[in-house]
């Protein structure tokens, strides 16, 4: 889940704009697919180096990645909560004025912390398929950035159907959670929670 263009409901359900068209999504979807394919093909063709970002205070790149991914999931949960509030799905809570800002900024932070993780994965490890967890993680990783691109580009299109942002946002969130379970959760459960 990622940054939100704005509280969506009022403008999108405005009866003056009846031509809500899913065709507006063609370009974002194509660009997103291209992103996912590019990452996957690069990860497959590039020979893994085993070397990338090193951060002081952690014992290995794997721990850094596990904690960055966990940070991203924490912000993604803020994303889920704030979007539910924005869409009025939480009974008894009216969306406060700052909720849009919270949603945008938590999304930006979540996205930015995933980037070093993805660079390390693609450059140092590559797209791998030696077991189910790794294959699932490789596929979800490519799809995540593709779906995120679709979400960002869809936000710039006025007049898309109301279901678009929740569906794409939900997809991005789901993929991130899959990524976290197939990497950081696995890592912490095998090696213990460590820095």
């Amino acid at each position: 889940m990622a940054a939100q263009w704005g509280p969506p409901a009022p403008t999108r359900q405005d009866p003056v704009q009846p031509a809500a068209s899913a065709r507006l999504l063609v370009v974002p979807a194509l660009v997103g697919s291209l992103v996912a394919l590019t990452l996957g093909i690069y990860g497959r063709l590039h020979s893994p180096t085993g070397v990338a970002v090193d951060i002081v205070g952690f014992s290995s790149p794997a721990t850094v990645k596990a904690w960055l991914a966990t940070t991203a999931v924490a912000f993604a949960l803020v994303q889920l909560g704030s979007s539910l509030v924005m869409y009025g799905k939480v009974p008894g809570i009216t969306a406060p004025s700052w909720i849009g800002g919270l949603h945008k900024w938590s999304g930006r932070v979540a996205f930015i912390v995933t980037v070093p993780v993805a660079v390390h994965c693609l450059y140092a490890l590559g797209f791998q398929s030696f077991d189910a967890r790794v294959l699932l993680h490789s596929i979800a990783g490519c799809l995540f950035f593709g779906a995120f691109t679709v979400k960002m580009l869809a936000l710039t299109r006025r007049g898309t159907p109301g279901w678009v942002l929740p569906v794409v946002g939900g997809l991005v969130f789901t993929l991130l959670v899959v990524l976290w379970f197939s990497s950081a959760f696995w890592f912490f459960s095998v090696f213990g929670v460590r820095h």
Partner: protein
């Protein structure tokens, strides 16, 4: 023309990725140069790059997500200096590789040991293909390893480009080893599975001559797990048949970081 903010987010992400990729490439070529020269001066240069490459990603993330798009790209790039895992460093005349797989038999042929060093992490496994085995973890430090495992198992070793030697203590018995660096398909393999609520953990060491030795812990979560001989690992499919259960093994590989 005003650029929509979601597009700015994407641009910032791409810029951050590009700068990290570029610095990783720089770090890797510095490492290769140091390996090729294998001289103290070249290694020292690479070491300096690695030290300078200490990145505060939290800082970078905060900067990169700041509101100003142009300033953001620039500051993200400047914050992220070349970053690398530890580069080869000379230690008593030896070059210490950041990644290495070592396997071999212990003295007296009482079992085999595998040590896999990946950046700042090391995993080792000793087993005799039967009841005596131990998994160990530790942190490499300038070509020296001090590792510990369950049941008071411990391992100390010196390692360098090509070989490692030391002592591993399992079940109160010390085994001395001098072992060599190997590449796939030789190396260390691990399988962790849950069978009827118990964690079954198996390990195989595939030696340079292709022979393998493996042990299996039927209840790996025990404080001092017991073990017996592991079923034969099929190296091509990385599977082994334990009764009715198919165990799927993962290489613990220094080069790819698999299993770490």
């Amino acid at each position: 023309m005003k650029i929509p903010t979601p597009v700015i987010t994407l641009i910032v992400g791409v810029a951050l990725a590009a700068s990290l990729l570029f610095s990783s490439m720089t770090a890797v070529s510095a490492k290769k140069a140091a390996l090729a020269a294998a001289s103290p001066s070249a290694a020292a240069t690479a070491g300096a790059v690695s030290t300078a490459g200490a990145v505060s990603t939290a800082g970078a993330a905060a900067t990169a997500s700041a509101a100003q798009p142009t300033a953001t790209g620039v500051s993200a790039t400047s914050t992220l200096s070349p970053s690398a895992s530890p580069s080869p460093t000379p230690s008593q005349g030896f070059v210490v590789p950041p990644h290495a797989n070592y396997v071999g038999r212990v003295q007296g042929d009482k079992g085999s040991v595998a040590i896999v060093v990946h950046d700042n992490f090391a995993i080792a496994y000793y087993c005799n293909g039967s009841t005596v085995e131990a998994w160990l973890k530790g942190t490499p430090h300038h070509g020296k390893l001090s590792m510990t495992g369950k049941g008071n198992a411990s391992l100390t070793a010196d390692y360098a480009l090509g070989h490692a030697r030391g002592t591993v203590l399992v079940h109160g018995v010390a085994y001395i080893f001098s072992i060599i660096a190997v590449h796939k398909p030789s190396g260390l393999f691990q399988s962790i599975a849950t069978v009827r609520g118990a964690t079954v953990k198996a390990g195989w060491i595939v030696l340079a001559d292709g022979t393998q030795v493996g042990s299996l812990e039927p209840n790996a979560n025990a404080a001092s797990p017991s073990a017996h001989a592991a079923p034969k690992l099929d190296i091509s499919s990385l599977t082994a048949q334990d009764g009715g259960t198919t165990l799927v093994a993962t290489p613990i590989d220094a080069e790819t970081g698999s299993g770490f």
